[in-house]
Structures are given as structure tokens and as C-alpha cells.
């Protein structure tokens, strides 16, 4: 029995869980925006990429400590999210949903090329190397542990915000019925703007955490963007709990698949799993059959 349960397998599984926390955070932001505004931000991962550059410049050029740069970055990306809503989504709110999705696809191009033009295509990194934690012959990097913990805290905060505050309640109400809430005296435009900023802030938080583990380049968004969308669809678009569960399932598949072969095959497995799941549970993992 012990051979099957070897230490590398365990290490990969734990790393999968740690990766899952980060993916869950990314999926949460996207789900929030989808659930409330009924729009898919195809450019979501590119917001994260911009945030990563923000971290890089704040830390490297302005010499800010990591923990001072992180809140600034979060605010910056939140502002970017609000701006995206005002400039692109708001004029298209009454257009067919596909148009909104494609417009954010255009924003994806814009953000990628702005980064290329402004920052060049070199790979950069923060230059912060966190120590590696050794535990019973297994190795875990502190950056992953930190990311996991921060992602969990971020998600709990969002949960409290959504359930304990007036604005959060209004957001949840709007996600249930868009038309009625306007009649109930809720300013939907304001709620949409707050939600977009909140989605942006979550992207900003993710970028602060990702920057510890990955090199920054203009196309870094493509390496985790698609996977985030798949997680949201697998969990059921707009379904927060589903997205959370799906993130961990996906992360485990990627991590374990990568253990037996290349990391790309982990992704291939995850994608294939996704398509099979679309056969079995087309409306998401936790969908209620109506």
C-alpha cells in the first residue's frame, strides 16, 4: 500500500490544493461579475497581468515593501475594473450578451498590447525569493502557502461582505432578479459599478499572489485565463460554491497530471475532463436539476 501512496504523490496533491486556492480566488471574481452583471470578462486574466506589472514597478522602481505595494495594486486593479465597466460594458448593457463578451475580447487585445508596448516582452520577476518549507521530506514554497492563505482570507471577506452588509445584500438580490431590484429603489448602475470594482480588486489580490510564483510578461494571462473560465463554467457560471469546488478539482487534475508527465499534459487532462463533464453535467457541477 505504501508504494502507491508515495511521497511525491502526496506532495503533488498538497500542491494541487494550494494551487486550487489561487484558482478559486480567480474564479470568484469572474463569477461575481457574471452572476451580477451577466457579463463574462474575457480579459479578466489580463487585468491580473496588469496588476502583476503594477506590483513589479511598485516594488522594483519605487522601492516599496511588498506589503505596502499590495494594497495599492489592489486599488489600482479595482479602479481598472470600474473603468472597464464604465467604458465598455455600460454602453453595451442592452446589446446582445455575445457583444459584451466580444468587446471584452477586444479589451484583452488592448491590455496585452499596452503591456507589450509599455513594458516590452521581456520576462521579469519580482526578485523576492521566499524560502521553501520542508515537511516530512515534502517541499512546499512559502509563496504558495501565502497565496493559499491570502486567497482563503480574501474569499471569506467577500463572503462576509456579501452576506453582512447592505450593499452586499443588494448585489445578491440583483443577481437573482435584475428588473425587480430597480423597481425596489436600488440604484443598479451604482451596484454594477461596485461589483466591477470588487471583481477588479479580486483580480488585483490574485496578481499580488501570482507575482510571487510566476515571471511577468505581457502574455502571462493566457497561461491561467482559459483555465479560470473553464472552472467557472464547470462550477456553473455565477455559482460561487460550484466555482470553489471546481477550482480544487481542476488544480488536483493539473497537479497530478503534471506529476506523471509534463505540465502541459496536466492541462490537456484538465481540458479533456472539462469537455467530458459538459456531457454529464452541462449546467455545472452543483447545478440543481430544474
Amino acid at each position: 500500500m505504501m508504494e502507491i501512496f508515495d511521497i511525491y504523490l502526496l506532495e503533488a496533491m498538497v500542491n494541487g490544493i494550494l494551487l486550487g486556492g489561487l484558482l478559486a480566488l480567480l474564479a470568484l471574481g469572474l463569477n461575481l461579475i457574471f452572476g451580477v452583471i451577466d457579463v463574462t470578462w474575457i480579459c479578466y486574466a489580463e487585468l491580473v497581468m496588469i496588476g502583476m506589472y503594477g506590483m513589479y514597478y511598485l516594488v522594483q522602481y519605487f522601492g516599496l515593501p511588498y506589503y505596502a505595494a499590495a494594497p495599492i495594486t489592489i486599488l489600482l486593479v479595482a479602479a481598472l475594473g470600474a473603468l472597464l465597466h464604465l467604458l465598455v460594458i455600460a454602453p453595451l448593457l442592452s446589446a446582445p450578451p455575445i457583444n459584451q463578451l466580444l468587446a471584452t475580447g477586444g479589451v484583452l487585445f488592448v491590455l496585452q498590447s499596452v503591456a507589450t508596448v509599455a513594458f516590452g516582452i521581456d520576462f521579469r520577476n519580482l526578485g523576492i525569493r521566499l524560502p521553501v518549507l520542508q515537511f516530512a521530506e515534502m517541499h512546499f514554497s512559502y509563496s504558495r502557502l501565502l497565496a493559499f492563505a491570502a486567497a482563503l482570507i480574501g474569499m471569506v471577506l467577500v463572503y462576509l461582505f456579501m452576506t453582512r452588509t447592505y450593499v452586499g445584500t443588494a448585489i445578491r438580490a440583483i443577481s437573482q432578479d435584475r428588473q425587480i431590484m430597480a423597481l425596489m429603489g436600488v440604484d443598479t448602475r451604482r451596484i454594477y459599478l461596485i461589483t466591477s470594482a470588487l471583481g477588479g480588486a479580486l483580480a488585483g489580490l490574485a496578481s499580488c499572489l501570482l507575482v510571487l510564483q510566476y515571471d511577468i510578461h505581457p502574455f502571462v494571462g493566457l497561461s491561467f485565463g482559459p483555465i479560470t473560465f473553464l472552472i467557472c463554467v464547470l462550477g456553473g457560471l455565477g455559482n460561487f460554491v460550484g466555482g470553489f469546488v471546481a477550482a480544487f478539482v481542476f488544480a488536483e487534475i493539473i497537479s497530478l497530471g503534471g506529476l506523471f508527465s509534463d505540465l502541459e499534459w496536466g492541462y490537456v487532462l484538465a481540458f479533456a475532463f472539462f469537455i467530458v463533464m459538459m456531457f454529464i453535467r452541462p449546467a455545472g457541477l452543483l447545478a440543481r436539476r430544474s
Binding site: 465598455v88 477586444g106 484583452l108 487585445f109 473560465f229 481540458f271 472539462f274 459538459m278 456531457f279 452541462p282
Partner: protein
């Protein structure tokens, strides 16, 4: 014959005669690229115009290009056989992904994201099987081992121009055939309201599947042609999300609902990229996509019918439907 009926034939004859009169290689090269991409964009618009927005077409294109090149390099199978095999492979892939989507009523956002997964898979498989496909470094079909004709490799641009022109014309013909057929009404009904269409006796799954397979077949052919012409393919140029988005962008800019819309889109995007490249040189890296992206957003907000679509709309004198 009215001028209207005559015009396509005159234009066709002019296009065929063009390379024999004017043979500046760089301009011919641009024309060939425009024709190949126009064909790819036309095949995307076959689905897109009925509300089936797919971001998986980068995947079909990648299958077309890589299967053809791999069969030639590793097994020595001529592209004349390899291209049909690649097209069938793309069609099978399309059915595998699209059938459950249509059967289980996956539409709108969900459909877009599922097809996005498809182009993601193709991209990752190409990258992961780098021992065979060269991974992200790209791949080159071996230079001809004998007859150029059998290898579908031609050095002179005129041959390629005529091939691309022919394929492009066939693409337009298929577009027109769908446009005139009963399927168009069925698909338009489906894109308005699936339940109502089904109640009216339309076989929703079958109709959608049919147009998807046609579109996938055409897209993979475009990929294979691109590969044979350029003699170099890389995962980023023929598959993945960027290629899929590029198709969407060109079609939206040109016009989604008119037959020549995708062609106009291809002309605009390729000329734009070339002008930026010449104007800015190496500094242009990134600028062309920046302009693309801004234009895409602006077009979707202000001109959702596209350039050609809007022009035809404004020319339309009476409520009578304008034929493109």
C-alpha cells in the same frame, strides 16, 4: 442579364487576370494572405451569423495545419490526401464538442467558453507533443521530395494566388448556398428562440450540427492552406484563443451578416498590420494588436453591423431587403 448578375463574373475575371498583368511579389503575397484569411473568416461567420459564437475555430485551424504537415513529414502522405484527412479530423473534433453542446442546450456564454476550451486543448496538445510538432518553436513541412504538385508546394506566387482565389470563391459560394437554402431560415429561427423553433418543427440539434461541421471543415482547410503557403506554422499563429479572437474581430469589423463582410474584415486587418509594420518597423510590436483591440471595442459599441454591413444598410433605399 442585369448589372447585378454580371458584376460577380466581371470581378472574378478581373481577379483571375490580375496576377498575369501585375506581378509585384510583395503585393501578391499580401493578396494571397488576404484571400486565405478571408476564407477562414468566412467560415467563422457561417456560424457566427446565426448566433453560434465560437472561440474554438483557432483549434480547427490548428488541426488543419498540423495534421497536414505531420502526415507529410512523418508518413510522407501527400497534402492532397493529408488535407482531406485533416478536414475530417477537424469535423470529428467539432462533432465531439458541439454535439453535447447542442443536445444539452449549451448556448450563449456557455457555448463560447466550451469552444474556448477546445482551442485551449488544441494549443496545449500541440505544445505538449513537442517531440513531434516542435512545440511553441513552430513547425516546418519538409521541402518537396520530388514533384512540387504532389507536395502542394509552389515557389511561384501566381499559382498560390489562383489556388487561394479559387478556395475563397468556393467559400463565398457555400456562404451563398446556405444563405439561399431552407437551413438559413431554420438557423435564424433557432438563433431567435430555440424552443419556438423546435416547436415549429425545426430539428435544432441537427441544424446547428450541420452548420458547425461545414464551418469546421472550411476552417481546417484554411489552416492547411496557410501552412502549405507559409511553410511555417506555430501554435500561436494557427491555433489558440488569439487566432479565434482575431477571426471574431475581422468578421465584426467587416460585417457579420453580409457575404463579403469577412473579406472586407480581412483586407482591413491585414493591411492595417502591414501598414503599422512598415510605418513603425520593429517598434510596431504590440501596436497592431492595440489598434485591433480598440477598433473591436469601438465597432461593437457603435457599428455592430460592421463596415460593409453599415454601408449596405445606409445604401438600402426602401425597407426591401438589400442583397449583398
Amino acid at each position: 442579364m442585369t448589372i447585378r448578375q454580371l458584376a460577380p463574373w466581371v470581378a472574378g475575371a478581373g481577379l483571375i487576370a490580375l496576377p498575369f498583368v501585375y506581378r509585384e511579389p510583395y503585393h501578391l503575397h499580401l493578396l494571397i494572405l488576404i484571400l486565405i484569411w478571408s476564407f477562414a473568416y468566412t467560415s467563422w461567420s457561417m456560424m457566427g451569423r446565426f448566433g453560434l459564437v465560437s472561440l474554438g475555430h483557432g483549434g480547427f485551424m490548428g488541426v488543419g495545419a498540423y495534421v497536414t504537415a505531420l502526415l507529410w513529414n512523418h508518413l510522407g502522405i501527400s497534402p492532397w490526401l493529408g488535407i482531406p484527412v485533416a478536414m475530417i479530423a477537424a469535423a470529428v473534433l467539432a462533432v465531439i464538442v458541439a454535439y453535447p453542446c447542442f443536445r444539452f442546450r449549451i448556448t450563449g456564454h456557455y457555448f463560447v467558453l466550451v469552444t474556448l476550451a477546445l482551442s485551449g486543448i488544441v494549443l496545449q496538445v500541440i505544445t505538449a507533443t513537442r517531440d513531434y510538432t516542435g512545440g511553441s518553436l513552430g513547425y516546418t513541412p519538409d521541402r518537396t521530395k520530388g514533384s512540387q504538385f504532389l507536395a502542394l508546394q509552389f515557389d511561384d506566387k501566381i499559382t498560390w494566388y489562383l489556388i487561394a482565389l479559387g478556395v475563397w470563391a468556393v467559400g463565398l459560394a457555400i456562404w451563398g448556398w446556405v444563405d439561399r437554402g431552407m437551413d438559413r431560415y431554420a438557423l435564424e429561427a433557432i438563433s431567435e428562440d430555440e424552443d419556438a423553433a423546435a416547436a415549429a418543427g425545426v430539428n435544432v440539434t441537427w441544424e446547428k450540427l450541420k452548420i458547425t461541421v461545414i464551418s469546421a471543415l472550411m476552417t481546417s482547410l484554411a489552416g492547411a492552406l496557410y501552412c502549405q503557403y507559409q511553410m511555417f506554422i506555430s501554435p500561436d499563429t494557427v491555433s489558440g484563443i488569439s487566432v479565434s479572437l482575431q477571426m471574431v474581430f475581422a468578421v465584426i469589423v467587416g460585417g457579420l451578416y453580409v457575404s463579403l463582410g469577412p473579406t472586407v474584415g480581412a483586407i482591413i486587418t491585414i493591411l492595417l498590420a502591414e501598414i503599422l509594420r512598415i510605418g513603425f518597423g520593429t517598434k510596431a510590436v504590440g501596436w497592431d494588436n492595440l489598434v485591433y483591440g480598440v477598433l473591436l471595442v469601438v465597432f461593437i459599441i457603435f457599428l455592430p453591423k460592421g463596415i460593409l454591413g453599415s454601408i449596405l444598410e445606409s445604401l438600402k433605399p426602401r425597407p426591401k431587403k438589400a442583397k449583398a
